[in-house]
C-alpha cells in the first residue's frame, strides 16, 4: 500500500492555517472570527502530529493534547466574553465594536 507523503499533510496544515488567518481578517461576525482562530490552532495540531509521526516520537502527540486543553479553556472564556458583549449590545458584528474611537 502506498503511503501519503509527509509533505501533503504539512501543505494541508499550512492551507488550513492560512484559511484561518483569512477568516479572522475578513469575516465580520464575532463567532466566525472565533471559529477561524480554532481552525488555526487545529491546523497547528496537524503539523505537530505529522512531525511526531515522522520522528517516531511521542512528544508531538502530547503537544496536541496541551493545545487542545488550552483551546478548550480559551473557548470557555471566549464564549463567555462574547455572551456579555451580546447582552450589552445585542449585536455580534465586529464593525459595531467601536465605542472608544475618538
Amino acid at each position: 500500500m502506498t503511503q501519503v507523503p509527509i509533505s501533503w499533510f504539512l501543505t494541508l496544515s499550512a492551507v488550513l492555517f492560512a484559511l484561518g488567518v483569512a477568516g479572522f481578517l475578513f469575516r465580520r461576525s464575532i463567532i466566525t472570527v472565533f471559529m477561524s482562530i480554532e481552525l488555526m490552532l487545529n491546523a497547528v495540531n496537524l503539523s505537530f502530529v505529522t512531525f511526531a509521526y515522522e520522528y517516531k516520537q511521542v512528544n508531538g502527540h502530547l503537544f496536541t493534547f496541551f493545545v487542545m486543553v488550552v483551546a478548550a479553556a480559551e473557548a470557555a472564556v471566549g464564549l463567555a466574553i462574547i455572551l456579555t458583549v451580546f447582552k450589552n449590545r445585542a449585536t455580534l458584528n465586529i464593525d459595531d465594536m467601536d465605542s472608544m474611537k475618538d
Binding site: 496541551f66 488550552v70 466574553i81 456579555t84 465594536m97
Partner: protein, 487 residues
C-alpha cells in the same frame, strides 16, 4: 520507574513561586462563596500575603538555581529577576484595587484569584526553557487577563476591551504556536538549548525553515507586547479595561512576554541574528515613532498612556536589536523601571477617575495640585520618569538602552530614538501643566482623600522609581550578572 526519577525536592523548590500562587488562587476561589462578599477586604489581604510568600519563594528557588523537571524550566538569575518583577507588579496592582473594586461595587474574590493565576502563568513563562512550557505559561497568563480586562461585565467599554484583547491575543497565540510546530519539525525538539544546538550543528536544518519559524514567533510575541505593526488593539484595550487591570496588563504580561522574547531570540534564534536584526530594527523605530506621535493627539489620559506604552515597547526592542548581553541587561532594567512608573501613573488615574470611571480626560486633571498636592507630586514623579528626566528610573533605563545600542553600532536607531524621547516629553508635560497651572476641575475637587491603602499604592512605586534613578547599580548589577542566558 518510580516517580522520584522525574520529580525531586529540588525541582519542587525551584517551582515554589508558581506552587504558592496557584494554591492561593484556588483557595480564594473556594473561599469566595463562603465569605460575605460586601464586607471583605479579606481577599485582597490574602492575595497580598500570597504574593509576598511567592516573592520569598522565588528567592528560595534562586538559592537552588538550576534546571528543573528535566530541563523544561531553567531557574537562573534571568528567571528570578523577572519572577520577582511580575510578583512586585502583582503587589502594586492589588494595592489600588482595594478601593477601586469597592467603589465600583465589584466582587473581589474572583478578581484576586484571576490576578494570582495570571502571575503564576507569567512566572512559568519567564522560567521556562522549553517552547511548550512557554506556550502553556503564556496561555495561563493570557486567559486570566482576558477575563480581568472584562471584569466589570456591565460596562460596555470593558466588554469591548475584553473582546478585542481575547480575539487578537488568541490570534497571536496561533502564530506563536505555528512557529513552535515548525521548530519542532526542523529540529525534533522544543527545548531551546537543544534547538540551538541543532540549528548550529553539522546537520543544521534549512535556514528558510528556521527563518519562517522565527518570523511566526515574532508575529505572535509582537502582538502580545504591542509592537508595530501589531499595536492596534492596545489603545482600545487599555482604555476600556478597569484602570488597575490596565496598569497590570501594560506592565506584568508585557515584561513576561519581553522575557520570553529575549530568551527565545537570544538563545535558539541567536545564530540567525543577522537575518532578524533589520526586521526588529524597523519594528523598534516605528513602534517608538507611531506610539509617540499618536499619543500627542489624545485627550483621554488612559488612551494617551496606551500609546505611550507602544512607544516604550519600541525602546525595549531597541535593546533587543543590540543583540548583546549588555542589551539584555538594559532591557531588564528598563522593564523594571517602566513597571514602577507606569503602575504608579495608572494608580493615580484610577484614584481620580471616580465611580464608573467617568473622569479620564486631560481636563479632569486640571488643578489637581491645589486640591491634592501629594497626589499631584507623586504623579509628577511618574511622568518625569516616563519622560526620562535624571534622578528617575526612566532616565537610567533609556540611558542603558541607548548605550547598549551604541556599543552595537546602531547609531541611527539611537539618534532617532532620542529624538522620539524629545517628542514624548511634550505630551507628558501637557498633563503636568494641566495639574499645576489650571483652576481645579470638577474631578479634582471631588476626588476622595487618599486612604492608607491608596497612599501605599502610590508611594511604593514612587519609591521604586526614585531608587532605580538614584541607585541604579543595585538592580543593574543583578541584571548584568544574569543576562548571559543558558545557551
Amino acid at each position: 520507574m518510580p516517580i522520584s526519577n522525574f520529580i525531586n525536592a529540588g525541582d519542587l523548590i525551584r517551582f515554589l513561586p508558581e506552587i504558592i500562587l496557584s494554591v492561593a488562587g484556588t483557595l480564594l476561589m473556594v473561599l469566595d462563596p463562603l465569605v460575605n462578599r460586601r464586607s471583605s477586604n479579606l481577599f485582597g489581604t490574602l492575595s497580598l500575603l500570597a504574593l509576598i510568600g511567592a516573592l520569598f519563594g522565588s528567592v528560595a528557588a534562586y538559592a537552588q538555581a538550576g534546571p528543573a523537571f528535566g530541563g523544561m524550566l531553567s531557574v537562573d538569575g534571568f528567571a528570578t529577576f523577572f519572577r520577582m518583577l511580575v510578583i512586585v507588579v502583582g503587589i502594586l496592582t492589588v494595592l489600588p484595587s482595594y478601593r477601586f473594586l469597592a467603589r465600583q461595587d465589584a466582587e473581589t474574590g474572583e478578581y484576586h484569584a484571576l490576578l494570582l493565576y495570571s502571575i503564576a502563568g507569567q512566572c512559568v513563562m519567564v522560567s521556562a526553557n522549553d517552547l511548550i512550557m512557554i506556550f502553556i505559561g503564556l496561555e495561563i497568563s493570557s486567559i486570566s487577563s482576558y477575563v480581568l480586562a472584562g471584569y466589570l461585565r456591565d460596562d460596555k467599554r470593558a466588554n469591548e476591551a475584553a473582546l478585542k484583547y481575547f480575539l487578537l491575543g488568541s490570534f497571536a497565540t496561533g502564530f506563536f504556536l505555528y512557529g513552535v510546530a515548525l521548530i519542532y519539525g526542523a529540529t525534533g525538539t522544543v527545548n531551546l538549548t537543544l534547538a540551538r544546538a541543532a540549528i548550529t550543528g553539522a546537520n543544521s536544518p534549512s535556514p528558510v525553515f528556521i527563518g519562517v519559524a522565527a518570523a511566526l514567533m515574532f508575529v505572535g510575541l509582537g502582538f502580545k507586547v504591542s509592537a508595530w505593526p501589531f499595536q492596534m488593539w492596545a489603545p482600545d484595550v487599555y482604555q476600556g479595561a478597569p484602570t488597575p487591570v490596565t496598569a497590570f496588563l501594560s506592565t506584568g504580561p508585557k515584561a513576561a512576554t519581553f522575557a520570553i522574547f529575549l530568551r527565545i531570540f537570544m538563545t535558539a534564534f541567536e545564530p540567525i541574528g543577522n537575518g532578524w536584526e533589520p526586521l526588529v530594527w524597523i519594528c523598534a523605530l516605528l513602534s517608538m515613532t507611531i506610539g509617540n506621535f499618536a499619543a500627542l493627539l489624545q485627550s483621554n489620559v488612559k488612551r494617551l498612556l496606551a500609546y505611550s506604552s507602544i512607544a516604550h515597547a519600541g525602546y525595549v526592542l531597541v535593546a533587543l536589536t543590540a543583540r548583546s548581553d549588555v542589551g539584555t541587561a538594559a532591557a531588564m532594567f528598563y522593564l523594571a523601571a517602566y513597571a514602577f512608573m507606569n503602575i504608579g501613573a495608572f494608580a493615580v488615574i484610577s484614584h481620580i477617575s471616580g465611580k464608573g470611571e467617568r473622569y479620564q480626560n486631560l481636563e479632569d486633571f486640571a488643578g489637581l495640585a491645589q486640591k491634592q498636592p501629594m497626589t499631584a507630586a507623586l504623579l509628577t514623579i511618574f511622568l518625569l520618569s516616563l519622560i526620562g528626566v535624571p534622578l528617575t528610573g526612566g532616565f537610567f533605563g533609556k540611558f542603558y538602552i541607548f548605550k547598549a545600542a551604541l556599543e552595537s553600532h546602531l547609531v541611527w536607531l539611537t539618534v532617532l530614538g532620542l529624538l522620539n524621547s524629545a517628542v514624548a516629553a511634550y505630551y507628558y508635560l501637557r498633563i503636568l501643566v494641566m495639574m499645576y497651572m489650571h483652576e481645579p476641575s470638577e474631578a479634582a475637587s471631588g476626588a476622595e482623600p487618599l486612604t492608607v491603602g491608596l497612599k501605599a499604592a502610590l508611594i511604593l512605586p514612587a519609591l521604586g522609581t526614585l531608587i532605580l534613578g538614584i541607585f541604579p547599580s543595585w538592580v543593574l548589577d543583578f541584571a548584568g550578572k544574569s543576562s548571559s542566558l543558558l545557551k
